[in-house]
Amino acid sequence: MKQLPTLAAGVLLTFAAATAIGGTVVEALLAGYRGAGASAFDATRGKALYNGTFPGEKPSEVRQCTTCHGVDPNKPGLHPRTGKTIAPLSPGANPARLQNPDEVEKWFQRNCTWTLGRPCTPQEKGDFLTYLQGL
């Protein structure tokens, strides 16, 4: 029976370590964005970006982060054309998120291009990650 608390402590420690690593990845990214000229990051601005609307190719088309990720980043999204379920964007709901800086940059590159029609600025990226981290 003694093993149970030890096991629980082990699980907790592993979880804490994983959380710390996640924090470090985002911290390093944020430091990079600051180095590229961004000022203090703001979760409110990040949220506004997440919910912002941008013009698409056709006059009737509106593009948003929510088009694929859904209104609530804690819930799964859906690619509107392919029907593929997209795992939740928030690291709180999906611990696999924001663990790999290359993945984060890859998706910023792909999805800012589609949604905004241009790459995101370091400020926008930092605000966005700060918003997601706080969910």
Binding site: E57, H79, R81, T82, G83, K84, I86, D102, K106, Q109, R110, N111, T113, W114
Partner: protein, 192 residues
């Protein structure tokens, strides 16, 4: 007394051993894929897949059904992979290294290199001077789906697009598109 201890000790030894074995099994299967001696990887389902299979599933399958490479000829994959900046209206850009690795893998497993009947049928239906980027535009695909009324797919919110193989083919991810397995959401079996 000492005999009981001996038995208990033996029992303890074997329970520890089995525990270690169990942990070992968990460690090798826990992350879903582990290297096998052949250099390939096995998933929990027991299907042997290569590093490139997993890479393809991750990089391409995040947004859409991971179409088997044998659905298109080499020249189609080549063209598709060189235009990822505008991939059917979206950016699907990869790092140059990943793009190169996946392009090579797709070409090596393209229709020309497959013995699968559907791959042969697909190839026959594509004109020699054509380089289709959409599987759904090929003669083979059209012939296989021409009898479907629009109500069951285009106007069906659970399907919408013919590009979603797995919406109606339950074993599509395993490469099985047998018509007897077809089940259209909200409609049911579709066996003709």
């Amino acid at each position: 007394m000492s005999r009981i201890r001996k038995i208990l000790g033996t029992l303890l030894f074997f329970s520890c051993l089995s525990g270690t074995l169990l942990l070992g099994v968990q460690a090798t299967t826990g992350n879903g894929a582990e290297k096998s001696p052949a250099g390939a990887k096995t998933t929990l389902k027991g299907v042997i897949v290569t590093e490139e299979d997993l890479l393809y599933e991750k990089e391409c399958g995040s947004c859409h059904f991971p179409y088997q490479p044998w659905w298109l000829p080499e020249r189609s994959w080549e063209k598709l992979m060189s235009g990822l900046q505008n991939h059917f209206g979206e950016s699907a850009e990869l790092t140059p290294a990943t793009q190169q690795q996946l392009t090579g893998w797709l070409r090596n497993h393209a229709a020309e290199h497959s013995t699968i009947g559907r791959a042969r049928g697909m190839l026959r239906s594509i004109k020699a001077d054509a380089t289709p980027l959409r599987i759904t535009e090929s003669g083979y695909f059209r012939r296989k789906h021409h009898e479907l009324p629009r109500q069951v797919w285009q106007e069906n919110p659970a399907v919408r697009s013919l590009a979603r193989c797995d919406a109606c083919h339950p074993r599509a991810e395993l490469g099985s598109f047998n018509e007897h397995e077809v089940k259209i959401p909200g409609v049911g079996r579709w066996d003709d």
